[in-house]
């Protein structure tokens, strides 16, 4: 039986189910008891303040504490209120959380999740708006989830909590209030399994997080012109489900990738490089990448919108790929 619930509700359900299932799971972060974006709201009522812990304002020590707890038998989820603030904790995430399992030759495990609302929502300004998921492709040992729907969010978060590695879980703030179908019964979505959000034959369009929805809208427009776009949501950037993307490319021979993260050095750069390196013979046109410009995100919603890829940008990128530029 499917219901339509919001992204926030889906995430909260994942917390509830996993915290009921495994008492080693706990949540910590600034204002997680009240829940500033509501994903953790009311958890404290059921699980108490010992498992829903408000932290002082210090992202690095909070993530550090999660690392220490994870190394010694717990499964913490630490919330970083804005994706941008991940840079404050980068040392703990990139140098410590991601590396000790390997460097200890497996003696330590770091099963933890960093849940982090992020992305441009129009008017939050330069330091509360970035989509930084691609910054976590580079450090070793981390996994990166970028759900685009309530269904994916719930299934991925549950898998992330059960995973024995540090997982970054990005929640785009424009998605938080969106509703989607989520079954009553329990389900998991494995990390590293892409989802074909729309079947098409002409162009493979890989879209990350919030841009999945822009990509689907662009695909509808293009369909009216006889162009059928296959929209693939990788759902996790690490591990990346290259097989699904490659299978699609073997059908379409055209690759477009869109993300709200910055284009330079972004996920699109990585995917384009993979395409050229591994799938060269399946490219009938240059790979088209869309991402945010390499500038600080300005405050005015009009300027911000101009910096990030729009639905129309996606339409044009697909047309460019097909040599039908306008």
């Amino acid at each position: 039986m499917n219901r339509r619930i919001t992204f926030i509700q889906a995430v909260r359900e994942a917390f509830q189910e996993e915290m009921r299932r495994d008492e080693r799971v706990f949540v910590m972060g600034q204002d997680v008891q009240a829940g500033i974006f509501a994903t953790t709201s009311k958890l404290v009522d059921e699980f108490g303040p010992a498992r829903v812990i408000n932290t002082p304002i210090c992202e690095s020590a909070s993530v550090g504490a999660a690392v220490g707890a994870a190394m010694t038998g717990l499964r913490p989820v630490v919330q970083i209120m804005f994706g941008d603030f991940n840079y404050l904790a980068m040392e703990m995430t990139a140098n410590q959380a991601g590396q000790w399992h390997y460097i200890s030759d497996g003696a330590l495990k770091v099963p933890m999740v960093i849940e982090t609302p992020s992305g441009a929502r129009g008017g939050a300004g330069y330091g509360h708006s970035q989509s930084l998921e691609a910054a976590f492709i580079l450090p070793p040992g981390l996994k990166v989830a970028v759900p685009a729907t309530p269904y994916d969010a719930k299934g991925l978060l549950k898998s992330a909590i059960r995973d024995d590695n540090p997982v970054l879980f990005f929640e785009h703030r424009r998605l938080l209030p969106q509703r989607g179908e989520v079954p009553e019964e329990e389900y998991l979505i494995p990390l590293g399994q892409a989802d074909i959000k729309r079947v098409g034959s002409d162009v493979t369009l890989v879209a990350v997080s919030v841009t999945v929805h822009k990509a689907l809208a662009a695909a509808e427009k293009l369909s009216q012109r006889g162009i059928e776009v296959e929209v693939i949501d990788p759902r996790t950037l690490v591990p990346l489900d290259k097989d699904t993307i490659f299978q699609s490319l073997q059908k379409t021979y055209h690759l477009v990738v869109v993300e709200e993260g910055r284009k330079r050095g972004g996920f699109g750069a990585e995917l384009a490089a993979i395409a050229v390196e591994e799938w060269f013979d399946y490219l009938d046109a240059p790979v088209q990448r869309l991402g945010t410009i390499s500038a600080a995100l300005p405050y005015s919603p009009v300027l911000e919108a101009a910096c990030i890829p729009s639905e129309e940008d996606i339409v044009q990128a697909v047309l460019r790929s097909l040599g039908q530029e306008e």
């Binding site: 021979y253 013979d281 490219l283 009938d284 046109a285 040599g323």
Partner: protein
């Protein structure tokens, strides 16, 4: 000052050349007259020397690319020369038609056959094909070099290959015409425009072959016996002196009768043929002709033949014997009016003085421009050739 290095014009018929190799790279110091690149034109590879001193600032035409005569290949300028001056040359080069046709001298009696066509751009179109299209084409054995691309900037895409497959493109391979083959194509086309007659005589070459074999080493023949072809050249020189109308050039509405006999010899090389010219054969001994021809053939086969060495012929000889050809009509090289083709010698039973004997016979066939030469002079020429073949000692006669 910035100076353009342009595609040189070697010989009357050169229209374009291919850059084979840059001997210098961008940024190198250049001395005036120093060789800076090698160009393959028509039939030869030649060095191009620097027209000025300075630094090789920009290479415009890369190795393997073709450019028309006069096109800018590179720019030499002082190390601190203003970019603007270099850009000016490059812009000019891009806009102006190649001087290949415009600067051809008015007296040039043989304008290039394609001079009416627009000049080719200095950078020829590079074939652009998507990786997926190329893979499909190669899988299906489709020659993509010749496909028309419908993508941006003419890029060949999968749909173009699929269209070609639907249209029934046959498996195969297409090769671009090398400058040499282009020249051959032009020459043969020119040749066929002349109304031609081919007259033939079967000649007994037993004596001359024996003569060649028995010639004492070191005497007359040089270090080794003269080749049959060298003997043909010497014989033709002698015969042509007696039939000057065959040793002539048809130029517009006049006939040029050359005092000397300059004989072009068709030489097979890897990519086609070359025709080096042995000059003033009527004034040279058999030994000199043999040694000069030997040298020219070596140069031709080594790609070292200079274009001047192929100019100024008044008659042409082609010996197809080594190819196993019995009889053929040699290509006429206008403005020349005569060419001799000699087939292979074969042992035959013939009647000599009422007796059947074994002799080595070969067909000598003269191609001629019928506008200038009638049958009678050819008959005389072939008669004289026959006589020399029977009396090879004549070849050693003192030169006047």
């Amino acid at each position: 000052m910035a100076t353009a290095v342009t595609m040189p014009r070697w010989g009357m018929i050169m229209e374009e050349g291919m850059v084979v190799e840059w001997l210098k790279k961008e940024g190198d110091e250049i001395k005036r007259d120093e060789p800076i690149l090698i160009v393959e034109s028509e039939k030869v590879d030649n060095e191009v020397t620097a027209p000025a001193e300075g630094v090789l600032r920009v290479i415009v035409v890369d190795e393997g690319e073709t450019a028309s005569v006069g096109a800018v290949l590179a720019v030499i300028a002082a190390a601190d020369e203003d970019e603007a001056a270099i850009k000016a040359i490059l812009t000019q080069a891009a806009q102006q038609p190649s001087p290949a046709s415009s600067s051809a001298p008015a007296s040039d009696s043989h304008p290039p056959a394609t001079s009416a066509l627009p000049p080719s751009p200095s950078k020829p179109r590079r074939i652009v094909i998507s990786p997926a299209a190329r893979r499909l084409a190669e899988d299906k054995g489709i020659d993509w070099q010749n496909l028309q691309g419908s993508g941006p900037r003419g890029r060949i895409e999968r749909k173009d290959v699929l269209r070609a497959i639907d249209a029934g493109a046959k498996p195969g391979k297409r090769l671009p015409l090398s400058p040499m083959r282009k020249a051959i194509a032009r020459r043969t086309l020119q040749s066929i425009q002349a109304p031609q007659a081919a007259l033939c005589r079967e000649i007994d070459i037993t004596s001359i072959l024996r003569f060649r074999r028995d010639l004492p080493v070191g005497e007359q023949g040089g270090d080794k016996p003269p080749t049959f072809t060298a003997m043909l050249v010497k014989a033709a020189a002698m015969a042509l002196e007696k039939t000057p109308i065959l040793n002539a050039l048809l130029e517009d509405d006049s006939i040029w009768l050359d005092e000397n006999v300059h004989i072009g010899v068709v030489v097979a090389v890897e990519e086609g043929v070359m025709v080096p010219v042995v000059r003033q054969t009527n004034r040279k001994s058999l030994r000199d002709i043999a040694s000069e021809l030997g040298e020219l053939i070596q140069q031709a086969r080594g790609g070292r033949l200079r274009s001047e060495a192929m100019e100024g012929g008044s008659f042409t000889i082609s010996n197809a014997g080594p190819l196993g050809i019995d009889f053929f009509q040699a290509l006429l090289y206008p403005p020349q009016v005569g060419a001799l083709g000699v087939g292979r010698g074969r042992a035959r039973a013939v009647v000599v003085d009422g007796e059947v004997v074994e002799r080595t016979m070969a067909y000598f066939c003269v191609s001629s421009d019928h506008r200038v030469v009638d049958a009678a002079p050819i008959g005389r020429f072939l008669h004289d050739m026959d006589e020399i073949m029977q009396n090879p000692d004549l070849l050693l006669r003192e030169i006047k």
